[in-house]
Amino acid sequence: MPDTTPDTTPDTTLGAKKGRTVLRLTNATLRFGGLTALNDVSFEINEGEIFGLIGPNGAGKTTCFNAMTGVYALTSGTIEFEGNDLAGRKRHKITKLGMARTFQNIRLFKSMTALENVMVGADVHSKVSFFEALFRLPRHRTTEAEALERARELLNLVGIEGRHDELAANLSYGDQRRLEIARAMATKPTLLCLDEPAAGFNPAEKQRLMDLIRKLRDRGVTVLLIEHDMRLVMGVTDRIVVLEFGRKIAEGTPAEIRDNPAVIAAYLGVEEEDAS
Amino acid sequence: MKERPLDFGALFGSFDNFMSYTAGGLVFGAIYALIALGYTMVYGVLQLINFAHSEVFMYGTFAVAWTFVFLHGTGRVNQSLGEALPVLLAALVAAMIVSAAIALLLERLAYRPLIKKGAPKLIALISAIGASFALAEAMGLRDRFASWVGLDDNLKNYVVPGKARDVYSNPVSIQPKGLFDIGGYSVTDVDLVVLFAALAMMVALDQFVRRTRFGRAIRATAQDPESAALMGVNSTRVVQLTFLIGGLMAGAAATLYMMKIGSTRQNAGFILGVKAFTAAVMGGIGNLRGALLGGLVLGVMENWGSAVFGSEWKDVVAFVLLVLILLVRPSGLLGESLGKARA
């Protein structure tokens, strides 16, 4: 794609666009047999926000991601992404629409290099056909060169300098998590969904991750963040939705959430765990 | 080869025809079902296609034939089911032992090292394909092996020098006795024994898996191997037990097959294995009752198919059926579960 610049430069029109709804869940309900993993959940995410999705283990956060990205179909309710109803859409089409995600349990292409992993993400918008690739026609060459450049830039951005050609499997745990972010970013998302990106990170790494998330937002990407680390969530997000047993129990700014008695009740056990 | 038009009359022309194809199909379906159990158990527990299970069955058929040769010599005789019964029982024991041994050997050599290493499924399947080949070929080369060790003379009744790949028959052919007619089909004592023996074994196995401690361990492992291991289930043992049961059932199937058909060969397992697998998938792989249903349905359907299209298309009917089932109902007729749990 010739046009690679928009999201690499800070979006100056951010203020103007803020308020446009990127994602809207309306009465989303999802049942697995007898278990209701999402129960009548509604919320909206606006463009340019860093949005937190928190809740105790098993609250349905990952399930929410899975429903958004087309892995599971909702039992009832709707999910709208930039005005498109996502019901029945193929997973790769949803990604192409501009929603990208990472995985709670890392799912990289292990025997591909870090660079190749990111290139796979970058290929989403490639218009290169089989024959153009076979005969190395100009579009293949320019697209490939641009994707390569972009991939390297993203790898450096997330902090994987100098290990571009390492196999994903051989990267350190932290690098693997960061690589997932780079791979997702390569698809040029409007909404980036991060599922516990800081799991297993030390405080310094968490700090760097917070900086990175802010940097991504400044590039015009809306971020949806699942995270258990309260300090990180409170420090970086603009708004938060809290789930418990599949139900939304609170929504608001970090300050509001911190003082919400329902949230405190839901989190009492978890807070202790975090502290230890 | 002649080309014939579709002959729906052969199947639907008369009630007698229809019943006779159906009854014949049920008998074969029972054998498919018994073999299918081996696929279904292993798949339920390991999520692996035990491709070499066909060879477990094939070795069982040879165990049956050899038992007959051993106890009878090679003089061809016809016996009724009653006369042949003692030898048949001996053959059943031999076949179950041989098949179970081969199954356990497979587990030990071709699977366990891979499971330990957490290898991808594709690799396990390739390992199984390799083992299947090696086993079938080893049987096909048994005359060579015998001559290597200089035993070809002593063993010539068993290896048929130079003809190891040919059809190898029981010296005793069991003469079925017609008992009563269903439609135009004369139901014989052999048919009834095959059908009921297969049913009885399945019921026994079903109860074993549902009601015993071992069965619980199998179901627990099928459901969630990690939790089962945490709760003290020895997963290696469970896997072994699974292969053992599959082998025993294949041995029984081999005996019934030899009763009905009377001969086998080095590649006899292949097509039966694929069909039994088809039956397992049709019923819902991992589901014991599904294996029974799938086996019977497959046996009947392919008999109907061969009535309509001609018997040379029998295998094609079976394969097309497999593809259709996978498309329409990928988890089979009864759904996939070992015991109650989703595997």
């Binding site: 990205t69 193929k90 790769h92 990208a100 995600r101 995985f103 799912r107 292409f109 292990k110 025997s111 591909m112 290099t113 190749e116 796979v120 993400g121 290929d123 490639s126 290169v128 089989f130 690739a133 076979l134 190395r136 293949h140 060459r141 060169a145 390569l148 450049e149 050609d165 390492e166 196999l167 791979r183 997702a184 698809t187 | 080309e3 296609i49 090292p113 891979l114 290898a119 499924k121 594709l122 390739i126 390799g130 083992a131 080949f133 090696a134 070929e137 080893a138 080369l141 694929v274 697998f277 088809t278 298309w313 295998d315 094609v316 394969f319 497999l322 593809v323 996978l326 498309l327 990928p330």
Partner: protein, 398 residues
């Protein structure tokens, strides 16, 4: 610019000696490749001692070796790149062969070079027809479904008069050559004739009695067929390399590694699986087409047993799945060894069966990663280079 980037990809694919090769200056590379090509083309004429088969014509063996290598290359796309276990590949080989036979002699009388592309198209379509419904089912089911497909094809050609039934199809014409048809034993056809070598122990003698006609195809001499199929093999090889180092190759690899993750990263995995399946089918069909119109000009259902499918899979896996040179080497070995060691022929299936299991068990990751281990090494080398200066790096890659 982009050429450089594809060069780096290629470099990662190479073996130890390949790195040395990559480091050599361009003229040296050109000379080396040219020499190698000449050697490969001339092999059946050079008839090197030890290598040459005694009981069966060496040219014929070499033709078969390349035919198998071509099949292996096609199946490598399906199994090695896309991770789809296709156990019915012989079905496509048969469809290619039968399409050619039907078009050139049995029902029509097209020239070979028209029938070949037709055969390729027909097999490709049959690949799509088989793949479209089945590639959606679970991966390990695919193995069984394709196995069934291989059997269906064989049973069909066995029973349908229109394609010769069990008697098969004979007198399949040879490809149209240039110049006169060869006229054995003193071959005079073609554009010109090339003599071959005869070895007296290790002393080469030019054998003027047996000449190979250049670009003419007869029933005695297999060498022209060898040249023809070798040329196609090389073309496919180049194409394979181009596709592998492109978005298509990446999509295949990602799909094989983790289909769900690939899908969620925007890869239409079904489309790419189908593409791999159809391409593999087309290459298998191409090889079948060459097989049908080779010297003997005769095919029957027995030429396409299911065992052949297993051999093909063995070829790819033994050679190193996902590695095109490994696949070619595997194909060559599978076709060559039994001919060179005829006494061994009876045991080859046993040996392949054991080899598959032993390989899988001893090196479960070893079937796939010889290339990747190498790649990791190449990556290290690049990191070393990188440490000398990042700007420099950027220039060479961007």
């Amino acid at each position: 610019m982009a050429k450089d980037s594809s060069e780096t990809k290629v470099k990662k694919d190479r073996r130890g000696f390949g790195e040395k090769y990559a480091a050599a200056p361009t003229p040296v590379k050109v000379v080396a490749v040219t020499l190698l090509l000449v050697l490969v083309y001339a092999l059946p004429l050079l008839r090197p001692p030890i290598l040459t088969t005694n009981s069966i014509d060496f040219g014929t063996v070499m033709f078969r070796v390349i035919a198998f290598a071509l099949v292996a290359l096609g199946l490598n796309i399906v199994i090695g790149y896309a991770g789809l276990l296709d156990l019915g590949y012989v079905g496509f080989y048969a469809i290619g062969a039968y399409t050619t036979a039907v078009l050139t002699v049995y029902h029509y009388s097209w020239p070979f070079f028209l029938a070949l592309p037709a055969a390729i198209v027909v097999t490709m379509i049959s690949g799509v027809l088989l793949g479209a419904p089945t590639l959606r089912v679970r991966g390990d089911y695919l193995a069984i479904v394709t196995l069934g497909f291989g059997e269906i094809i064989r049973i069909t050609v066995q029973n349908v008069e229109w394609v010769g039934a069990s008697a098969g199809i004979k007198d399949i014409p040879h490809p149209t050559g240039i110049g006169a048809k060869p006229n054995p034993p003193f071959d005079q056809g073609g554009l010109f004739q090339v003599p071959r070598l005869q070895w007296d122990g290790f002393v080469p003698i030019v054998d003027l009695e047996h000449k190979t006609s250049f670009l003419a195809f007869g029933s005695r001499d297999a060498v022209p067929y060898y040249w023809l199929i070798l040329t196609f093999l090389l073309l496919i090889l180049i194409g394979d390399r181009m596709i592998k180092a492109s978005r298509v190759g990446r999509a295949w690899e990602a799909t094989r590694e983790d289909e769900d993750a690939a899908e969620l990263m925007g890869v239409p995995t079904f489309k790419y699986k189908l593409m791999a399946f159809a391409l593999g089918a087309a290459i298998g069909g191409m090889s079948g087409s060459f097989y049908a119109s080779s010297q003997a000009g005769y095919i029957n259902p027995q030429s396409f047993p299911l065992l052949l499918s297993m051999l093909f899979v063995a070829t790819v896996v033994v050679g190193g799945s996902g590695n095109r040179w490994g696949a070619i080497a595997g194909g060559a070995l599978v076709a060559y060894l039994p001919e060179r060691f005829r006494d061994f022929a009876d045991y080859r299936l046993l040996a392949f069966g054991l080899a598959l299991t032993v390989l899988a068990v001893w090196r479960p990751e070893g079937l796939f990663p010889p290339r990747r281990t190498r790649r990791a090494k190449a990556a290290e080398a690049e990191i070393d280079a990188l440490e000398e200066g990042t700007e420099n790096e950027e220039v060479t890659h961007a």
